[in-house]
Homo-oligomer: 442 residues x 4
């Protein structure tokens, strides 16, 4: 984890928290422990960082801890909440939905919880999606199911219309589970709400199967994705080893960050080459990937390659900045491209190879969370509820230095987290694969 | 299972079985039970078939049971055996290799067992593949691994060269594990052997993940394939249900026979349409698949489709009979084609749909066998050894009416097994999916 | 499968089937294929059995095929059905419930389907269990859940009270899923119904995770049980191999028949000793189990033992014929007993051993069915409905010689199926474990 | 994570690190990034802790980072290393063995690596265990296997004899993987080595499936254990829900700390009661567990209970401080005890209950690591090698505040980590189970 430059870690509040939390018993006692003002965790924790920071003026940067407060903002008996899941599927969505619903219902006594259907479309009248009433019975038995019981969609919707809908429905807290784009929309929604002087909290839970949201050291669903990616690697390895000059090629998720590819290669160490967006590589030339692959085949008779979907985008000229519905740049398919490039290269050399290509993406995204992610999602959901009830807004729930914290939404979306080419993760990949840098001298 | 027309169920033998089996103790007792001449199982077992057969002259058609014989042909102390796996990977190959090696080694006392590398290539000097010496230690711990420790390859090799190799290596029994093409090659090899008057048994174990070999009521790896295909169906269903007008499309194995697609759809009943080679369907028109799909989306908002790779080949004109290395006709990709056809159709109608396409083929083929397949493979391997030791040749080990039997190799390759459009399996698919015939009136 | 002596394979009917099946279209056509009177499958299919039978008078013994009939007995618009699951849990119960409900509802148009709660208790007023209304929505999403959504209980209830309840509720078909004891109760219920001259079909689906019901060549849940038992064997093997003189002992299900123990040992071949009820063994003495185990430890340093729960009951004197609620003889715990006997034996010899004992029973019984069992359960459920609608009674749905058939209930409960000590399964166990008979000379 | 009082975080070194690391290229460059003296991470990272610490004299407490150093102590060409695994099995042992061997062999060029068999017994001549030569081929394919390829044993051995053996074998680095007891032995071994003025590094990797080693925020195998414990919970829930007044009782690992029980209950939220050693509870009385259970049954008809093996030890009087071979106090079996207590209680009240007891312990310990643990173990092993090569001794590799660090061995064994009854984890358990404190007023 690299040094984070952040000065303002303050969280916006929609009003003074003056209501006594229903988590407290009448006599002020509780089985629950509460978070106090002073409960904060340092942003940067390397000794030399701290020593440098101490030379500067001002306090050490720290995040406030997530968790229940003694005083909250909302009177839960009259509160209506809404919940929406946006963007691509990710293991754990149903866990989060369930834990938000149960926490609101059983612990804060909120009885009106709306599930907006199909992402941001759910707010927009023209799509005609019904709203789903959520209560404990509606979330029973959903943990073993992948996907999202609310459904999802990609792409932005008009901010004004969304806030109109929130007003019309008389919502007090809006929980938004989504990626980068969703969180940027959430900032705009929260700003429009403040502009209109409404009392609506907007609480985000960052969703990124790629694990690439800044200041979010771990995102839910990532470990499940790695877990199952290893199945694809085992398959590719068996196929590769099963034929003369067998090549197993697996494309894994990772549009801008290669965390899944790198971590999966460490989890199932049959991989010989890992290609990720953060580490540039050449195909041709003496140091290029194809020459390295040829060497490997000559030596061992087979090879396994993991490529992140965002790797090698430099090979696609003129894709003209096309974007998908979510506004993401439409990537050209590096998996298909590599498969073709390898076939052509070896054909040109008169070497017969057997290439097997595996793209497990949708089998992974649609899985239920594994045990560890499930526990993690439970905490994210409960902490999102605590934050919302306390009147926090423009806030995301994150995991930082082993604590659940409140991170200002704008900070989390300010840039992207990536694999450091000189860090511990990539070093480990280089060590375990035996892969060398694949760049020709300029 | 339909009526089988077969008159000659006799198995060729390379010589008189006059050696006492090492499975017998010195005093003629044994913990093992033995198969006798009279141990045969009927080919056809429906009452009306039998009644009809009894009207005819000649005996009722029956297969001889597989299993150990008291008298065998080979003297195991001097015997050398060879083992080869051919064609595409299939769950269970390592189980079969292991059980053949252990049975030969421990029970018959054979000490020289060669594993030919990379399919039929292994016999041909120009490829330069080493031979693998097989003994119990080489097959320890291989059951949990998918693929084949011997490797495989596709495509034919020159029969004369193969038999030259067998002669040179002084092989007594050749075990061939492979599909249709391999078994046809095995017939030619066995014939060339008989022609040259050599004493080499050729014993086949039919391999077809598609479960489409004639007279083989169950082929190893098929159940494992179905088992794991359900994971792809669950994923596709979650993706489909997760978006407005979501469509999950899974392409499963099945070049000429839709057993995997049909059975997987019964095992995971989230499927709405199953498309297989045996049941013709139209895309366009009032009764066509696209109209049916549109209706389903209008009604339920999402749909899951399973297509066997060999379905709908009529949509590809002019693919000109191209064949792959195994001599199989190269199929055009129905999955990609359907995905495109659906996208175009709904775009033309102004209906937004979300199509997710899953092709899990190589993740399935490369798996280890599940428990049930593993037990099955153990029996196939042991029975192949019993057959070979007894001097049987041009024989495959099959499962017929719940008995392991010897089937003449030529009979098993005489035609292909397919899903009957009027049988119990397809009826069940129609019932559980609610799918109707998708043919327009001529 | 051994020769079955059966003369009367006729199925009782509660009345003439004169109603046209709703599976037929108005014009008499159907996408479904129907079973005709003549569709029967031979009971015995070994050639010599048939030849012997042909010498006798009378027709060859055959079972009628299960499946839909063109003419049925019940008018589905007025029909009420009841469904009950009894005895211990078994993978696949929910699959059967679901397929019965969907078949009745969608294909026959039956709208009133009652789920009786907690086994036979559900019929008896004093327990006060509510009845569950079953319709497609109540069985959605239950396939991935183990157990039974209806619940179960052990033990008999008064037959008269059960039939009173059926009369009171105006039931036309009663589906009973249960084991030996349940099917014997079903016979009595059906007889009492016939006695009272009521028009109620009683259709049984045999449930036995032990796979020990006579004339039922395969029972649902068995393959799933074997599948998961292998996990326990792997664990026991790792524990055994992990310590000096490590011994892994696994107790598996099998009260009177060792099918699970024997088959699991073939599926995961790390097992050195298999102890089952059908094969007598001594503990002490030169040929006894303990001496054999000592030899194995001396040779290899570790050992894995699988014992069926019903094995070695001779070691328990004076357990006085105690029975459990289901009337089964209460077995003494052979697992605990063996663990103690081994500890004592090796202590006496001054040999330090490390014994790890695994009893996975309830983790297995409570699982959902695997893919193959799921497909199987679907057929059992649908065929049970076809049988019931046709007015068959005192019938169980079985799998015989690869066909689904109607078996007279009394025949199926007439005796128990066991592992033959001279058959193919036990021979294979002896071969793969290297185990010898463990009996001392008398 | 609570405040840690530690002043001395210095790591002992056996000599000056003056050899250039082989990880550096000849020209001093490297693909690897190196750890510098200044690379340290704070021990305590809560803001108020830091603020308090800053008031005190002396530097902020910090751990040095684990990882490769530019200068190391050992000349790898002459170095011999030894590796031992001690105590109970734990998922990930083989991953650690493999990563130590591969790192030593490929990256540092160490060619002599000994695997000591069966824990500390391996050092003691009288046991006669062979040493295992370890090289890349010996660790190929071991990742998918549970257990330890080296074997293990419990219990102490004479320190002098162990150091004699190290001297005799001319070992330079000893890697010890084990729990509390093992690490305490490691301290003594390292002290004896220093005493004898030998140049042997002792590097520990803390193993505790219970996750209860102090200052080790995460121990390998724990997540895998939680993952699989959820299977037992699902099974227990299905059994409980399957019968009238069904009770599913699962005993999970946790001798002194309830992390597995608590976390598993969050991962699979079918649990109603969690009993752990850290939270006292009564059985009898108005607030006791049995009364609470009775209430739950009356309300919902079934209940699921998870008990950690070390919970409720107060109920066992006079077990007299017996200890097992590892010197651990022998716990009385709380699972069996609870089962009996519940049976007696409800029998006394005339309430029929169905109790199903599951003890999955050995099925969990013997598993291979899941993907996430596998990645973690790889880092532990590689960092242990870096530490040893640098001449560090009396050090364990730990994970602290998301960094891999060097922790003084004595500090890590100074006390035990436990679940805080007022912390986030236990609060979450109380929330999700709905469980209340179960203590009667004094």
């Amino acid at each position: 984890m690299h040094h984070i430059e952040i000065t303002d870690t303050g969280i916006t509040e929609i009003g003074k928290a003056s209501v006594t939390s229903p988590l407290l018993n009448g006599d002020g006692t509780s089985h629950q422990s509460f978070i106090e003002e002073k409960d904060r965790v340092l942003v940067n924790i390397r000794l030399e960082e701290i020593e440098a920071d101490l030379q500067k003026e001002g306090p050490l940067a720290s995040f406030e801890l997530a968790g229940p407060r003694r005083k909250i903002y909302f009177d839960s008996s009259k509160l209506r909440c809404a919940l929406v899941t946006c963007g691509g599927l990710c293991p754990g969505l149903n866990d989060i939905i369930r834990s938000i619903v149960l926490e609101l219902y059983y612990h804060y006594g909120v009885r009106t919880i709306y599930g907006m259907r199909y992402g941001l479309q759910g707010f927009i009248p023209k799509y005609g999606h019904d709203v789903m009433d959520l209560e404990p019975a509606s979330v029973a038995g959903i943990l073993d199911r992948g996907g999202s019981i609310l459904g999802s969609s990609r792409g932005p919707q008009e901010i004004g219309e969304i806030v109109d809908c929130l007003e019309r429905m008389n919502i007090g807290i809006l929980f938004m589970v989504g990626g980068d784009g969703t969180l940027r929309a959430a900032v705009k929604i929260a700003d429009e709400i403040l502009q209109r002087n409404l009392k609506i909290s907007v609480v985000g839970i960052p969703k990124t199967i790629d694990n690439d949201i800044y200041m979010i050291s771990r995102s839910f669903g990532f470990e499940t994705a790695v877990d199952v990616s290893t199945q694809a690697i085992i398959g590719a390895h068996n196929e590769a080893a099963g034929y003369p000059n067998g090549i197993g090629l697996i494309k894994l998720m990772g549009r801008h960050s290669g965390f899944i590819a790198a971590t999966a290669a460490l989890a199932q160490q049959d991989v010989n080459f890992v290609l990720i967006p953060e580490v540039d590589f050449d195909l041709e030339g003496p140091n290029g990937f194809l020459a390295a692959l040829e060497k490997r085949l000559a030596l061992r008779g087979h090879a396994v390659i993991v490529v992140a979907e965002g790797a090698g985008q430099k090979f696609f000229e003129n894709n003209g900045g096309e974007t998908d519905e979510s506004g993401n740049i439409r990537l050209s398919d590096i998996g298909i491209y590599l498969k073709g490039a390898m076939a052509k290269y070896f054909k040109g050399k008169g070497i017969e190879v057997n290439i097997k290509y595996i793209d497990p993406s949708y089998m992974i995204r649609s899985l239920p969370a594994n045990a560890n992610d499930s526990v993690f999602c439970g905490f994210l959901g409960r902490n999102a509820v605590h934050a919302g009830m306390a009147g926090k807004t423009k806030v995301v729930i994150g995991r930082w230095n082993n604590h659940f914290v409140h991170i200002p939404m704008e900070a989390a979306t300010s840039r992207r987290k990536q694999v450091s080419p000189t860090g511990e993760l990539w070093s480990a990949v280089m060590e375990t694969t035996g892969q060398l840098p694949m760049k020709n001298p300029a």
